[in-house]
């Protein structure tokens, strides 16, 4: 029998994969343990389900819904802006410059983006002033920290459109010109080319773009804290409040677990859905 040679390559995985696995698994472990009453800072550490009883409050569901809704809306609105924009950009002279300018918000840190947008949508910000001067509104709109979360949504869209734009633009650009020509040559008009060639080929990229933005936005803390409503706030913020303001780490842990579960559930449902659409 041939003896299997030990694959030394696996040792090389330790610095990169090992580092990530160690810390991610450690935080997961501590989170789960704390949600069941272990690892307490003060007092006794013992198994308990009481925190799970407390977690499902009105606030929790409001905040969870807020984060979920903001994430979903951001991902969908951004892709609705990006798809046609990428298509138009393909045909415009000087598109390289356009793309470079469009990329700027992606490189703006979340907090800065939040500040920049808040600055112009504020009660006396330039947007309100212009709308007033145009006599479209009688009195400034409250867009920042508004109850509907338009402020946070605007910041998220501002920051995430470029991100999806790059994915979509390169996906469309990657379709060889020959392939489109071939379709036209065989009798496809512009609409058919879009429907038969461009959209099916770029759909996987669009699905990835949507899910990436969803996850990023769902996990957000800083933007909704600075531009979002005071109530409800993001689920990350609720977790933070429980941990630091109420010093109730166990409930914070439960919220963390729920966040993970929601994320995973959504991503699984979504990939199931996109597989179905794909076929």
């Amino acid at each position: 029998m041939k003896r299997r040679k030990f694959e030394w390559g696996y040792l090389l995985l330790i610095p990169g994969v090992g580092y990530i696995m160690f810390f991610v698994l450690a935080s997961l472990y501590i989170m789960f343990a704390q949600s069941f009453g272990f690892y307490n800072y003060t007092g006794t550490s013992e198994f308990s389900l009481q925190f799970w009883q407390h977690v499902f409050s009105r606030t929790f569901f409001d905040d969870l819904w807020f984060s979920f809704r903001t994430a979903l809306l951001t991902a969908l609105i951004s892709i609705i802006i990006c798809y046609p924009l990428s298509l138009i950009l393909q045909r415009i002279p000087g598109r390289k410059t356009f793309l470079s300018i469009l990329k700027i918000p992606m490189f703006v840190p979340a907090l800065v983006a939040s500040f920049l947008i808040v600055n112009i949508i504020d009660y006396h910000g330039v947007i309100n002033m212009i709308l007033e001067k145009l006599r479209l509104i009688d009195e400034p709109l409250r867009l920042r920290n508004d109850a509907a979360g338009i402020g946070a949504l605007s910041v998220q869209i501002w920051k995430n459109v470029p991100f999806q734009m790059i994915i979509m633009y390169s996906a469309i650009e990657a379709i060889r010109k020959d392939v489109r020509d071939a379709a036209a040559n065989l009798g496809a008009n512009r609409f058919s080319i879009l429907k038969e060639i461009i959209i099916p080929i770029t759909l996987p990229s669009a699905l990835v773009a949507v899910i990436m933005v969803f996850v990023r936005t769902f996990n957000d803390f800083a933007i909704s804290k600075t531009a979002g409503p005071y109530y409800p706030t993001s689920i990350s913020n609720l977790m933070y409040l429980h941990a630091y303001t109420f010093a109730d780490w166990n409930t914070a842990a439960c919220i963390g677990v729920m966040m993970m579960i929601t994320s995973i559930a959504f991503v699984s449902f979504y990939s199931y859905l996109s597989k179905k659409i794909g076929n």
């Binding site: 990169g16 991610v24 989170m31 390169s170």
Partner: protein, 285 residues
């Protein structure tokens, strides 16, 4: 005759549209991106003696007062120093951790490498605040909470996926033929490393280092929880200005300071970084 005229008219409208469309689009994009930055710039230049208030569209008097103030009387200089120092250390740590692993995943056909490539994505999808809180707990126990070490550990965790993914793509796109050709022409391991591998991963390294640096510079959640209040960086300072004591003028200055390295990065990236690395870093799968 008539047909000719209609044809030339059609052509003219098309030309006109071709000119107008980019122009219109450019204006929209400029407003979309330029306006927020312009207003931050204006706010940072407001002279406190002549406050800028409703309904003026522009401030009446400009001065560098706020910039001077922020640099003179706040801890911003120290925070900028911290930010750069931490970014530097993080980049080195990421580089050293990522190189062997990226080589193994990109060049050696290991069983299960697809699985490991997914594991690498975890820090990108794990909720930052949750990781901050509970990892922070562990770092606290380890006694590195509130130290440079602690912050470098978490920054490395967040930035490592970018470096890894870029280097993996880099290693994967390195044609095996080329390496074999070098061996075939008599190159030993050392020559192969210095003359083939190293020059070929250099672009990936540069791209990865830039992404790592920027990620560390703008990381907020984990820095805030693990580092504060002892270690402040530019984002945590900005957060303090955006919170309860919201001070628009000062926040403008700090925002712009935080914007500068990123915009420089963008300019360099546009010229130097291949799009495939951008794609890899952004998580295109």
């Amino acid at each position: 005759m008539n047909g000719q005229l209609i044809k030339s008219q059609k052509k003219l409208t098309r030309r006109l549209l071709e000119l107008l469309l980019p122009f219109g689009l450019l204006s929209i994009i400029m407003v979309w991106i330029g306006l927020p930055i312009l207003y931050a710039l204006l706010w940072s230049l407001v002279n406190p003696e002549y406050p800028w208030s409703y309904p003026d569209l522009f401030p009446t008097n400009l001065s560098l007062f706020q910039w001077e103030y922020v640099f003179k009387y706040t801890t911003i200089v120290k925070s900028i120093g911290n930010s750069f120092f931490l970014a530097f250390l993080t980049t080195i740590a990421c580089f050293m951790l990522a190189l062997p692993t990226a080589y193994a995943l990109g060049k050696r056909k290991l069983k299960g490498s697809e699985f490991f490539k997914i594991i690498i994505l975890l820090p990108m999808v794990f909720p930052g605040m949750a990781m901050g809180l509970f990892l922070g707990r562990m770092l606290h126990v380890m006694g590195v909470s509130g130290t440079y070490w602690g912050v470098v550990i978490v920054h490395t965790l967040v930035a490592l996926p970018y470096m890894l993914r870029i280097l993996i793509v880099n290693f994967e796109s390195m044609p095996q033929d080329l390496i074999d050709a070098a061996s075939n022409l008599g190159a030993g391991n050392w020559v192969k490393f210095t003359e083939i591998y190293f020059p070929m991963i250099l672009p990936g390294l540069v791209a990865g280092a830039m992404f790592t640096f920027i990620t560390s510079m703008e990381e907020f959640n984990l820095t805030f929880i693990v580092g504060a209040p002892d270690i402040t960086t530019i984002p945590t300072v900005l957060y303090s200005y955006l919170g309860e004591n919201f001070l628009r003028t000062r926040a403008s200055v700090v925002s712009l300071i935080l914007l500068i390295p990123n915009l420089l990065f963008l300019i360099v990236a546009e010229r130097k970084i291949k799009t495939e690395y951008m794609g890899a870093a952004l998580g295109k799968m």
